[in-house]
Structures are given as structure tokens and as C-alpha cells.
């Protein structure tokens, strides 16, 4: 069937990209500075795609994603450092803890809409951070130190592929359609038999869990988990990627994550100009493309076909 062929093809493409990148890294063509940025790109993709599930697809405006990332980072670090558990267990543990917290927090807060939800999640993200700041067991204000560097390019790459694969397939199922229905019109969704609360909480939980994965990978790359890495500024960074790429577009989030991380890295040489240029770029992009780079569409072969002069209408199916 054409379906299986497409899946195999995308897997082959992923392996090929991995092989090329990995050999470039092994051959030292990609230096440590760019290696660091590639890892950051992958972590940002995980964060952005998972936040897009909540903000873009389900339409629940959350700006507390860094909080869930922090939970994943700290729980993951505790599992490897204090309990000497394998890295995979730490990642899964971080994801489970963040997901559980997302579930517990989502249940009461998702009754709120729009601005109110945004403010509530902003506050909750800060509460998580301040709580961690006051737990001496995980290092308190000076951060959790001595975390082994388990995160390699292979780990982040395949975690990213898994995240994208998971969320894309989720979206293209009846459960994903239920989430999108909540975004489009909550009253109509309810009238069509969709349990809107359940799907809001579900999207929130899944999104939080993947933020936990990103957090665990993050902490195990930088040897340290510090509360200052997970302020609301981090949440805004992730949100910027999602909005810039397009709310409701996975390929948009990926492109924007790559673009913004590399722009930020390229400007590292001009620290005094960096934030100015970065902000100007954002303003210009938002002026000319308020719906984000891709709007709510996905990058697909069909889209290329249309750009090349074909006039067929893209459907939500193909990507």
C-alpha cells in the first residue's frame, strides 16, 4: 500500500540524515560549537512541537512549558545521579513526572479560556520553578550539579524523530481531530459528542510529557540543571518558535526551531546587537506573515507541487 511505502520512505530519510550528521560529527567537520547548536535545535523542536499540540492544535494558550521542562530535567537528573538508573529510564521518568504534573494541573486550569488560561499557566510555570529552587535535595538555588553527559547526538536525534512521529500520528487520528475540533469551536465539538475536557487535558498531558523528555535531554547535556534555565523567558522562547512556525503546523515548528536556534547562534559573535537583530527579525516576520511561516499547513510534496505551478488544492491528509 502507498501508506506503508511513505512510512518506510520517511524512516529511510531519517536514518540517512542521521548517518550524514553523525559521520560529519565523528569526522570533526562539525565542531563542538555547532554540535551544541544541533543538540539545541533538536531539544527546541521537541519543545516546540509538543507546545504546538497544546497551543496550535488544541487551541489552549499555555505559556508555562518551561515548568514542565524543568520537571523532566530534575526528575531525570535525580534518577541518574541519585539512583544510578540508566539514561532511558531517566528520560521516561522525567516524561512521566512532567506528564503527571500536566494532568494534575490541567484538570482545574483548563476550565479557563484564552487570556485567563495563559496567565494561569504562566503562574504555574513559575510556581514549579520556585518550588524546585527551594528543594535542597536537588541543589536549590545553585542548581543540580554533577549530572553525567549522557545526551549524545543519537539520543536527541531519535528522541526528536519519535516526538514528531508521535504527535503527527496523534493529530492525524480521530483523537487529534477531536483536539482540533476543540480549537475550532468548543460548543460544536461538544455537540458532536467530543468530550472537550478530556481532550484538552489529554493534549496538555502529552505536551507536558514531551517537554519532560526535552528537559531530561537538556540536563544530561549541560552537566547541570539550574532553575534559571527554566524561567518564563524560556517559555516565551518556545512560544515564539511555535507562533513563528505557525500555530497548528508541525513542520512549521521544526523549521522555526532550526531557524531561530541558528540565527541566535550566528549572532553569538555580536552579543550587544544580538537581541536587537533577533527582535527585529521577529517583528518583520510577524508583520509580513502574522499567521506564521506555514500558517496551519504542513510542508508536503503537494505544497512543492503547487509552488512549482501545479494548481491542485492541498488537503489535510498529505504531509
Amino acid at each position: 500500500m502507498g501508506n506503508n511505502k511513505r512510512v518506510l520512505l520517511s524512516f529511510a530519510a531519517c536514518i540517512a540524515v542521521y548517518a550524514v550528521m553523525q559521520s560529519l560529527i565523528s569526522l570533526d567537520v562539525i565542531g563542538s560549537f555547532w554540535q551544541l547548536n544541533i543538540v539545541l535545535v533538536c531539544i527546541n523542536i521537541i519543545l516546540a512541537v509538543s507546545l504546538n499540540l497544546i497551543n496550535g492544535f488544541t487551541g489552549q494558550f499555555s505559556i508555562g512549558h518551561a515548568g514542565f521542562m524543568a520537571v523532566g530535567a530534575y526528575v531525570g537528573a535525580v534518577l541518574t545521579v541519585k539512583f544510578q538508573l540508566p539514561f532511558l529510564v531517566a528520560i521516561l521518568g522525567g516524561a512521566a513526572a512532567a506528564g503527571f504534573l500536566g494532568f494534575v494541573i490541567g484538570l482545574p486550569t483548563l476550565r479557563l479560556d484564552g487570556d485567563y488560561l495563559a496567565i494561569a499557566t504562566l503562574g504555574l510555570g513559575e510556581i514549579i520553578r520556585i518550588t524546585i529552587l527551594n528543594i535542597p535535595y536537588v541543589g536549590g538555588a545553585s542548581g543540580f550539579m554533577g549530572i553525567p553527559r549522557y545526551t549524545t547526538f543519537a539520543w536527541v536525534f531519535f528522541a526528536t524523530v519519535f516526538t514528531v512521529f508521535f504527535i503527527r500520528n496523534f493529530i492525524n487520528s480521530t483523537h487529534g481531530r477531536a483536539c482540533i475540533a476543540v480549537r475550532e469551536n468548543q460548543i460544536a465539538a461538544e455537540a458532536m459528542g467530543v468530550d472537550t475536557t478530556k481532550y484538552k487535558v489529554m493534549a496538555f498531558t502529552i505536551g507536558a510529557a514531551f517537554a519532560g523528555v526535552a528537559g531530561a535531554l537538556f540536563a544530561h547535556y549541560f552537566y547541570i540543571a539550574h532553575p534559571a534555565s527554566f524561567t518564563f523567558m524560556k517559555s516565551f522562547d518556545i512560544l515564539t518558535i511555535v507562533v513563528l512556525g505557525g500555530l497548528g503546523s508541525i513542520s512549521g515548528s521544526i523549521t522555526a526551531a532550526i531557524l531561530l536556534t541558528f540565527i541566535s547562534a550566528a549572532l553569538a559573535g555580536y552579543p550587544e546587537w544580538r537581541m536587537i537583530i533577533y527582535s527585529l527579525l521577529l517583528i518583520i516576520l510577524m508583520l509580513y506573515r502574522p499567521q506564521g511561516l506555514f500558517g496551519n499547513r504542513e510542508l508536503s510534496l503537494k505544497m512543492f507541487g503547487r509552488l512549482m505551478g501545479g494548481n491542485k488544492r492541498g488537503t489535510t491528509e498529505g504531509n
Partner: protein, 255 residues
Amino acid sequence: MALLKATKLSKVFGGLKAVSNFEVTIEKGELIGLIGPNGAGKTTAFNLLTGVYEPSTGEIEFDGKSIVGLKPYQITQRGLARTFQNIRLFAELSVLDNVKIAYHFHVKYGILESVLRIGRYHKEEAEIEKKAIELLQIFQLADKKDEIAKNLPYGDQRRLEIARALAAQPKLLLLDEPAAGMNPQETQQLMKMIQWIKKEFDLTILLIEHDMSLVMNVCERIYVLEYGSIIAQGIPEEIKNNPRVIEAYLGEEVE
């Protein structure tokens, strides 16, 4: 036994009695009209029946069981689907996706199956797609299945909303002013379509309508609502000649 039975239903908003002592009984297979002047409480009554509002007092029995206090999605899952007076489509989605969403609660595959694309996923998705397209064909929307819903002409949007409600496979369909904003020709077509789907899908229908020709021609029985209460009910002939109904619509006669 009646399919839907509402007894002594009322809804109070602050000091305003929007609906009081609302009573309807609908037998299986009937096509009932609910009419009344603007602001009589027709849509409020619909919202009570579909769980959007919880009634202040009264009882609603659907298919032999009480549905008071259930959430709207639970009521829909019991087999009571509706359309809205002000169209509420999933505006940014394709016509096909609009209909597919309504099959949601009939789907059995779980999250794991959808993420890993195993088990019942492919089979059920193919089935949903097939059924949705069949339904769109009935409503002459199949060739527009990839259009974004908000770009459809108004009449098409109305029909899409009915198609979507039918995809939920209800026993009772509530239509809130299905002909609103349609021209006489479109209304004619809609009348035929309503009668046809009722037979084809073995449905019971309750509709709110202002277009008297539609109501009088299609409905088997009519309830008239004024100031939140039922003031008359009966077959179209009786309603047409009922002095209270004429008074409600045209005002009192001058002595």
C-alpha cells in the same frame, strides 16, 4: 413509548423566566415543528434538551432514560444531535474533516493504535472516510470535500451542518432554523431533503423554523411557544386556525 419526553421544563436566568412549563412529547419517527415569535424561548428550549443549559426545574426523558444533568457530549452520544441557528462549523477545517469529527465517538481504536498506526487504525479510518464521503454525496457536497468550510456558500454551510449532525448517527435530530437565510428555492430543496433523510436514516426530527411554508408543509405536528410556554399544539391545520396562535403572531384583534 415516547422517544423524547420533556415535562414541566423551566429555565430561569436571574429574574427572567426564559422557559416555563415547557412540555413536549415526541414519538419515534415523527417530524415535529417548534414555532413561536422572536424571543419566545425556542433556542433556549433546544439548549435545555441538548444539555447546553441545565433546566431549573423539570425532567427530560430520552429513549426511556433521564438526560437531565448530562453534559452535551454525553447527550449526543445517547443519540440526540443538533444543528445551530448561527452556524457553528469547524470553520478552518475541510468539509470532509468537519464530517469526520462527528464520527469520533463511534471510533474504537485507542491512542496507542493511532500513534503506532497499528490494530484497528487503518481499517476504521478508511471506514470513516468512506462513510463521510457517502454522506457528503447525499448533500451534494462530495465534490467540495477538500474546501475549507468557511469558504462555502451560505446554503452549503447549512447543509454541511446537517450532514455533520447526521454523521453522529442520532436517533433524534434537532434542527435550529435550518432554512434561515435561504432563498425560496433553496428552502424548497431543503424541505424535500429533510423529508428524505428522515425516511432514509430512520430519524425523528424536531425543528425550529420561522418559514411558515416549510413548517406547515413538512411537519406532522407543531408546538407553538410564546413567552417561554407552550400555548398550542396540534396538526398544521389546527395551528393555522388557532386564535391564540394568530394572536401571538399578529397581535390582538381590535374590538
